[in-house]
């Protein structure tokens, strides 16, 4: 039995929370963070190369210039400055600046929006993960097998879309998404259905039947004039994958660990749901204060969405979510697990619909439907289905899946550290392992999704793409490369650390070390930029010589980056194979992982959330001085891009806030009920066979 906490300060959770808040405040309350990060304070005393050396001189000049400007004001009175505000609905804009503890209008908005997206990603990403885990943990009763048909199709749609889009991007297969989606879904459907009554086929036959049936259906449903071999091949692969996963899941030996994992995460989802709503409200209020003209215009541009679709979906999702959370034990006890799984799938469908619906206005801000002159006359649907809409849907779908995996890592790591009993430690050690595998596996296609998103943006308006890749956001992208390298590295380090608790696994260590050499080389290549100044052309104070010579420029081109990414993914995959072989051939001592393991998982999760927030920052800043690109101009004083240093610090602040809240939520959702229990917790028991 666990010891009861005797006082607040002895309570482990309270200590952690106090500690986190203390460090957070220390970092965050660095006074007077200004909007411009040319000051030393906002750079946290790590002054930078580009123009830092000239700061002192500039300050002197600035003072002189201010005097001059005063003198010029009178003469400039009659000057026509309407060009600053004469763009569209911004014409009558009256702007009020607010400032509090270094937060400005933009930073308030940035903070609220990012926090909202992080919680929203949790409640959208984790339910996908939870339903699959629930299926894996459920005994294969008649009702469960019925539900598995549906869950297999749901999973197959997700996997089919991801493989399809990857084929479309990498191989250039026309309508790859549709081929992937239909083939995988129907392959899964037929195999699940045929295996429902009896085990009709083994794993190879499932792949074959899935491939044949999926290909036939997808060929009929995909609107192409001529069939191409590549498309058919993609359909065959997807159909086979659909068949394989269906067979695998249908006949998987139910493991109660999965059920427990799903149930525990669901408890956290419930609390996160409230935080999503809270931060969503906060975001809206902040927008109404900081950017009221713009948010009014945006909402008015999507009347049906914001007045009907969004509230309806939100209410429905809330209802289904609470049914899902609170019906877990009752339905288990009533032997109705299948119904609970179906509820979970409905929850996911609603969640994804909500995500897709809100991606409409989000992408409309970036790529409003052309021709812009017709914006007032086109339908709301036309505005939603703009060029970047589907790519962002794919990107967020996969990104949320990765997010879910890494959040499970963090939950596993926290709970491992908070557990005293061996059985608990064994279990949470396993949870961390599962979270890492899923996080990394889903992260592998993520670069392809990012690529297709940016490709659409380039096609829409290359200026935005260039702003991201070659201009003021180029160094931001460099940091992204560094983060991806860090995450792959941390994931592999975790595999290494956790293999030390597997008997006879050390035979793979020399090869794995070689893999780490490859990882470092790949990360270095991914990180290598074409130039070491932060804009397309050197601006005053920058060193124009910091450019790679032409004969070495290939190191900074996509050809090298892709090879580096391929290498990172391959080494990770190879290490995963080593890990899998080791677990099959040697005993795994769960609960005895090197204590370094949980901290690596926490580091990994932190990096993932940081990267996600960073990419959000890049996407928002890429609109430059436009709220809606070339439609609604940003005429506020903060229309410029903040520096890398300022953004890095602010994103860290947001991520700390999220982690403090998540630490509290994990404690309240999972740990606290355990510490309160006077007898062994009454976990959901496996249901009886029907």
């Amino acid at each position: 039995m666990l010891k009861q906490p005797r006082s607040l300060l002895q309570n482990a959770f309270a200590k952690t929370l106090f500690g986190l808040i203390f460090v957070y405040l220390l970092g965050h309350l660095a006074p007077h963070l200004t909007a411009s990060s040319s000051s030393i304070v906002s750079n946290l005393n790590f002054q930078t190369l580009a123009y830092a050396a000239e700061d002192d001189e500039e300050e002197e000049y600035e003072e002189e210039e201010e005097d001059d400007e005063d003198g010029e004001e009178e003469s400039a009175e009659e000057e026509d400055l309407s060009y600053l505000t004469d763009i569209g609905p911004a014409a009558e804009h009256e702007f009020a600046e607010f400032s509090f503890l270094g937060f400005s209008n933009r930073k308030f908005t940035w903070f609220a929006a990012q926090l909202h997206i992080l919680f929203a990603s949790f409640i959208l990403g984790c339910p996908m993960f939870v339903v699959i885990m629930e299926v894996m943990g459920a005994r294969r009763t008649q009702g469960v097998r019925k539900a598995i048909i549906l869950s297999n199709v749901f999973l197959a749609i997700l996997i089919g879309v991801v493989i399809g889009i990857t084929g479309e991007v990498i191989v250039g297969i026309h309508h790859g998404v549709l081929y992937g989606l239909w083939a995988c879904a129907f392959g899964a459907l037929i195999v699940s259905f045929l295996n429902y009554f009896h085990r009709l086929m083994n794993i190879r036959a499932s792949a074959l039947i899935g491939a044949a049936f999926g290909t036939l259906i997808s060929a009929g449903l995909t609107p192409v004039e001529h069939y191409e071999v590549s498309g058919i091949m993609l359909a065959v692969i997807n159909g086979a994958v659909g068949g394989l996963i269906s067979n695998g899941i249908m006949f998987a030996r139910s493991d109660f660990k999965f059920e427990r994992l799903a149930h525990e995460i669901t408890k956290v989802i419930g609390i996160c749901y409230s935080f999503t709503a809270l931060t969503g409200g906060l975001f809206l209020f902040v927008m109404l204060v900081a950017y009221k003209d713009f948010i009014t215009y945006l909402i008015a541009s999507f009347p049906t969405l914001f007045m009907v679709a969004y509230p309806t979906l939100f209410i429905l999702e809330t209802v289904v979510m609470y049914i899902y959370v609170y019906s877990w034990d009752p339905l288990n006890k009533a032997n109705k697990k299948g119904r609970h799984i179906v509820t979970g799938i409905i929850l996911n469908v609603l969640g994804l619909t909500l995500l897709v619906a809100l991606d409409g206005p989000a992408t409309f801000m970036q790529t409003p439907t052309k021709p812009l002159a017709d914006l007032l006359t086109i339908s709301e649907w036309d505005k939603i289905s703009n060029m970047a809409w589907m790519p962002l849907n794919y990107h967020r779908l996969v990104g949320n899946g990765t997010f879910g995996g890494y959040m499970v890592c963090i939950i596993g790591a926290y709970m491992y550290l908070w557990s005293n009993k061996n059985e608990e430690r064994e279990y949470y050690d396993w949870v961390g392992y599962i979270g890492n595998i899923i996080g990394v596996a889903i992260m592998i296609p993520l670069p392809a999704m990012g690529y297709i998103f940016v490709r659409e943006i380039y096609q829409y308006d290359a200026t935005i793409g260039m702003y991201i890749m070659s201009d003021r956001e180029s160094m931001f992208m460099l940091v992204q490369g560094l983060l991806v390298g860090t995450m792959f590295s941390a994931s592999n380090i975790y595999m290494w650390v956790s293999m030390k608790r597997i008997e006879n696994a050390q035979r793979f260590f020399p090869a794995m070390k070689f893999g780490f050499v490859l990882i470092i080389i790949s990360a270095a290549i991914w990180f290598t930029p074409r130039r070491f100044f932060a804009t397309m052309l050197p601006e005053p104070g920058m060193n124009p010589d910091m450019v790679l010579p032409d004969n070495l420029a290939f190191l900074a081109l996509m050809i090298s980056k892709n090879t580096a990414a391929f290498c990172l993914v391959t080494v990770t995959f190879i290490n995963y194979i080593f890990y899998t072989i080791a677990t099959k051939t040697g005993k795994v001592h769960y609960g005895k992982v090197n204590p370094l393991g949980p901290y690596v998982l926490i580091f990994l999760g932190f990096s993932d959330i940081w990267l996600m927030s960073w990419m959000g920052t890049i996407r928002e800043l890429s609109r430059m001085n436009w709220h809606i690109y070339k439609v609604f101009k940003d005429v506020t004083p903060e229309k410029f891009a903040p520096t890398l240093a300022e953004s890095g610090f602010f994103v860290t602040t947001i991520v700390w806030t999220f982690f403090i809240l998540m630490t509290a939520i994990i404690w309240i959702g999972i740990k606290y009920p355990k510490t309160k229990a006077t007898k062994p917790a009454q976990e959901a028991a496996p249901q009886m066979a029907e």
Binding site: A12, S38, L417, A534, L596, I602, A641, L644
Partner: protein
């Protein structure tokens, strides 16, 4: 299980090799094979049970190895002309490697004895991650937001009341704001060689209407050497919608300044370039100009004096058939001892555009578009250096430096004062 793994491994390895071969050719495939070979060898190593190392044992070999490696990387990067920041980057990654391998061999951490232990460790983990990200973002090159702000607050381009140099400056701003530098270099300046270097190509030689058409309908005339499908789609087609008429005029005015009085125009992608001296299409067109048949250069007929077949029709006219001919001595202070076959491009250009005083060789540059004069020169060379007998193309000259370009202006090498 084992067989399945081997099959998956072989397929993955073959796919990887194919990908490397398609990207980097034989060298890529060999590198891939080497990686597979090393993996295969290392999997044969029979490792004894892992022994825990103390911190000193852990780093005693790693420190000297990493120091040597970092030194080698620094020197090698310098030898390959990597600027200093790349040298620092490579050494930094070597240190990251040191950190990695130290961590891998780190002895098993002690179990937390109290809640305080793991609280500190969790905080340290967050602090480590935060410190890395904050330090990296603070140390990478920054830009000054005020500079962007000043650009954003600048009024849109209006040409009314502006004079020549101001229009050109406004055009340069349009060029920058629309991020043309991302794909087009202008001589030494710019971001990549995705599109033609507009300076080396000397886009300014072309008529304004042609340049404007290239901006508005970039698919109509593809620049030589950029005929691949990717390049054909690269130039956006929306500038007609985005740019105002004033901006377009200013942009064309800026592009018209892109000329080089010292080099023949250069075509093609970086690494596969050629000069007009070796361009058969240009030479064919040059022949038309030379023989007075080109409709765009009506009135210009080099053959009248120099002869259609290269045999001079007039006394004193340069005989292009004789590769060892010498330069004129009729221009005071401007004479070279170089033989015709060794004449620099600048001399060809100067003689044709400025002429030879007191001879029928007029300053044709004041009369005809220089575009056609360069073409005629490319043809004239073929009299002593026939295209079909050339075994190699003339070397593509280096891109002029900023100082060199400034010198053209101070030395008055352009006939147009705005250039």
């Amino acid at each position: 299980m084992k067989i399945d793994m081997i099959i998956v491994g072989v397929i993955a390895a073959l796919s990887g090799l194919f990908a490397l071969y398609s990207t980097f050719g034989i060298a890529g495939a060999i590198a891939g094979l080497a990686v597979i070979g090393i993996y295969a060898l290392l999997l044969q190593v029979k490792l004894q049970k892992l022994e825990e190392k103390t911190f000193f044992q852990n780093i005693r070999f790693k420190v000297p190895i990493i120091l040597v490696l970092a030194g080698i990387l620094w020197v090698l990067a310098g030898k390959f002309n990597f600027p200093v920041w790349w040298q620092i980057e490579f050494v930094a990654f070597a240190l990251v490697g040191f950190f990695f391998f130290t961590l891998l061999d780190w002895k098993t951490l002690k179990l937390e004895k109290s809640n305080f232990d793991w609280t500190i460790r969790i905080l340290a983990t967050y602090a480590l991650a935060s410190t890395i990200f904050i330090v990296v973002t603070a140390q990478l090159p920054q830009f000054d937001p005020e500079f962007e702000l000043s650009k954003l607050n600048r009024p849109p381009v209006k040409l009314e009341g502006l004079a020549g140099p101001e229009v050109i400056a406004a055009g340069r701003e349009v060029f920058e704001n629309n991020k043309c530098f991302n794909c087009h270099k202008v001589f030494w300046e710019g971001n990549s060689d995705r599109g033609p270097n507009l300076g080396s190509k000397q886009i300014g030689l072309y008529p304004a209407a042609y340049i404007k058409d290239q901006i508005l309908s970039p698919r109509r005339n593809q620049s030589p050497g950029f005929d691949d499908p990717k390049s054909k789609k690269a130039m956006p087609t929306y500038y007609g919608e985005d740019l105002s008429e004033d901006e377009l005029i200013a942009l064309v005015s800026y592009l018209k300044t892109m000329r080089d009085p010292t080099r023949m125009p250069i075509e093609g992608k970086f690494g596969q370039q050629w000069t007009w001296w070796d361009d058969k299409d240009i030479i064919a067109e040059g022949q038309q100009v030379f023989e007075g048949l080109h409709p765009q250069a009506e009135g210009l007929n080099c053959a009248v004096c120099h002869g259609k077949d290269g045999i001079p029709m007039m006394t004193g006219a340069l005989d292009f058939r004789n590769a060892d001919n010498t330069d004129t001595t009729k221009i005071e202070g401007d004479h070279t001892d170089k033989l015709l076959k060794d004449w620099p491009d600048a001399l060809w250009y100067r003689r044709v555009t400025r002429g030879v005083p007191n001879t029928p060789m007029a300053p044709w540059g004041t009369i005809f578009p220089h575009l056609y004069l360069w073409k005629a020169e490319a043809y004239a060379r073929t009299f002593h250096d026939p295209l079909e007998k050339r075994t190699a193309k003339r070397p593509v000259p280096a891109v002029p430096t900023k100082e060199e370009i400034e010198k053209w202006q101070t030395d008055g090498m352009f006939m147009d004062p705005l250039l």
